[in-house]
Amino acid sequence: MTILAVGRPTRSDHDIASEARPETEGHGLVQDEPLTFELGGWDKTGVDLPEAELDASDLGDLVRAARIGLPGLSEPETLRHYVRLSQKNHAIDLAMYPLGSCTMKHNPRLNEKMARLPGFADIHPLQPQSTVQGALALMDELAHWLKTLTGMPAVALSPKAGAHGELCGLLTIRAALEARGDARRTVVAPVSAHGTNPATAAMAGYQVVEIAQTDDGRVDIADLAVKLGPDVAAVMVTNPNTCGLFERDVLEIARLTHAAGAFFYCDGANFNAIVGRVRPGDLGVDAMHINLHKTFSTPHGGGGPGAGPVVLSAALAPFAPAPWIVSGEDGLHLIERNEGEAAQAFGRLCAFHGQMGMYVRALTYMMSHGSDGLRQVAEDAVLAANYVKARLSGDLTAAFPDGPCMHEALFDDAWLEGTGISTLDVAKALIDEGFHPMTMYFPLVVHGAMLIEPTETEPKREIDRFCDALLRLAAAARAGDVARFKGAPFKAPLRRLDETAAARKPRLRWTA
């Protein structure tokens, strides 16, 4: 062993690489961590509460006698437990997270700070409206930004996520059709649509008919024309679509849709690609949800919460659900019920007024970027995706090689043919390279799809690192290094998880 003059060893004389890894619980900074149910005690608590002044004897046998079964932990134990868990998560703040269709962009911390101002976080949805004028003004301002950016005259703010927004849009369309005595039963959507589109249409009481796709990844206009019968209530199209391509014939889609007496619903999940550069209102769109948690940077939080406001054309505006805001002599008013001026509205989607916490974050983001910055967002997002496509196309196979893509680059698995390696294997191998994998096996129209969305908040060197990693993997696949893929991930907190076993015999909660 080499010893420094001060007596501190500096390096091992052993050949470290040849030594077997010791059997330990966890490794390096990643600790093995049991469930709280295996750590805590029934009497332990991490809060100090005063004694209750009264007992609950007045409730008699309504009182819960049996043990609930909830362990408690002190504050230091709770911190350590959840910090340890957190270190097993990939995150945008850690490295690129190029999940196509999900828009994993940077989440500004100013948004978080603003959402926590007591004036927003500590107000009750049913306190007198005179005491929440700032909240109503914020909702009004958010509505103004969304309407201006989309070129649409109205917006329903309350949907709680993208799929909820789709439901809101289709129910609005349904109400508008019913009002003109023209109940229709069908919604048409491309085969490449997000799963939420057909699921939402079914929930809204519609049959779903699929439209074919052309060889260049767009809606087949001829097929659409055939399927646009008098029973079609709405055409649901994602634009830019789930292949990451702009629907070149969007104006014709709108024209055909309207000529058939139907409404044009646009899935706005990919609005990030065009924000500030293209207004859906100029494309003939009647309704479009906006995922505030995608385009407008509210955090995904491991699966939510989101928010899915829906912008609406003039024809649909009267049928939007309450609540909305009107201006009166004594300030702003929240219209909460389908009466009077809201008599045509289709109903209530949820309790209260939607996702205020997300409204604050989204408006903070919009004001930070401004009209110029938002336009730059779309440009940089599209530039980054095309750069990824250009850098990888020699080694991977682009699903639609001709022409530019929008905010995401789509590859198929033709480049893996004959290697015995699948898209799933590539995704798991990317984990060992330090990246979150791209979206895999979506859209369904492309075999072994790999959908890469870098977003505008990735620095060029990170995009290059990601491309370099994929190119290394492509070389390894060509060289027949199958083990590197099939065994992956090797360096994650856990090795590949058995999802089949989980579904075969579900264990959905801890039991002693």
Binding site: G46, G119, H369, Y387, G403
Partner: protein, 448 residues
Amino acid sequence: MRYLPLTPADRSEMLAVIGASSIDALFADVPAAARLAGPVDLPPHQGELEVERAMGRLAARNRPAGSGPFFCGAGAYRHHVPASVDHLIQRSEFLTSYTPYQPEIAQGTLQALFEFQTQVAALTGLPVANASLYDGSTGCAEAVMMAARVTKRSKAVLSGGLHPHYAEACWTLAHTAGVATQRLAAAVDAEAAVIDAIDADTACVVVQTPNVFGTVTDVFAIAEAAHAAGALLVVVTTEAVSFGLLKSPGEMGADIAVAEGQSIGNQLTFGGPYVGLFACREALTRQMPGRLCGETVDAEGKRGFVLTLSTREQHIRREKATSNICTNSGLCALAFTIHMTLLGEAGLRQLAKINHARARLLRDALAAIPGVEVLTPRFFNEFAVRLPRSATAVVNALAADGIIAGVPVARLDPHAGMDDVLLVCATETTAHVDITDFAEALTQELAQ
């Protein structure tokens, strides 16, 4: 622009690699008529300081609940959230991660969801809980649809004690699918009328306890009547802290339990985002909406967690899915889980007792005021009072004096014929002085 890392030099280099002449060339597929020549008519970008000032001005025009005596409940509750909860949910790894589709690098989120599901199952007294829905009201609507699928029947009986917003959200989802919602007359003790409405076409009965008027009911007899008729019982709870004191839905025979989880770990935030709790009997698992987290092992046999039974969900089943839900309330569920872990059973029971005790002090103070009648016979932390005049007018008058007196029933349901009824709530955040200030102000207001 501080959120955009690409420099002009980066952009030029990237365009060169792409082989494009300009950014505009990348937008060539957009019809020329729809390409905006310049920025839309909105203000330009601003620095943090400027945005913070503008948002601060808006926030300052609202009266936070913590700034004075405050008695609103009715589906959203002001509780103290420990500082460590908010710290933990703001960790980058939780805040800035996506739905855990790659489980090997999402064990933090997944294990927390597994803990969440176990906690919700314990609280509701039912064996299976999902990984959250948007909120209690949408969960309630999903429960009605699930019951219709399970029983293949097309009517839901909604108790007159169900929160009106919940009943309306149920109607919205149900009527489009051809499921009728029979909403019974609003009444403080409405649950008694539910059994008579059950018939051979009833898919489910939806009862809330404590109900929107605060009334606590043992719904065991309703469960028996529903089951005898082949219907399911859905029990709704809007105040999750009540699980620490009252019999659980499962103990009383519920098939599906739905709750608003906001009270644990989450702020009021003007109504959202909140977190829907959803639990059911084991036999109904494959008809549940939303994500489920399950236990499994990795290639080396180590325990791990994954999203499972996804053949129920939209990304696999498309139009045949049990629900269209995708994004749910992950981070709110995490806040719930952490707060519940800090509380533990002992803390939750103590917290529930304090809430009940504070509400009884409030009841005693208001009942002593001439003209005020307490209507709710048995309650947890909120109850209804009849005033000698319009509750809305009284609330507005007291708001001018800095007291947020509660929620008029007329705001939730103007057709209930209860314009003089006010819903009031007390929690551990309600100080004794708040109660005496409120009672004094109400006494003076009613004496005028």
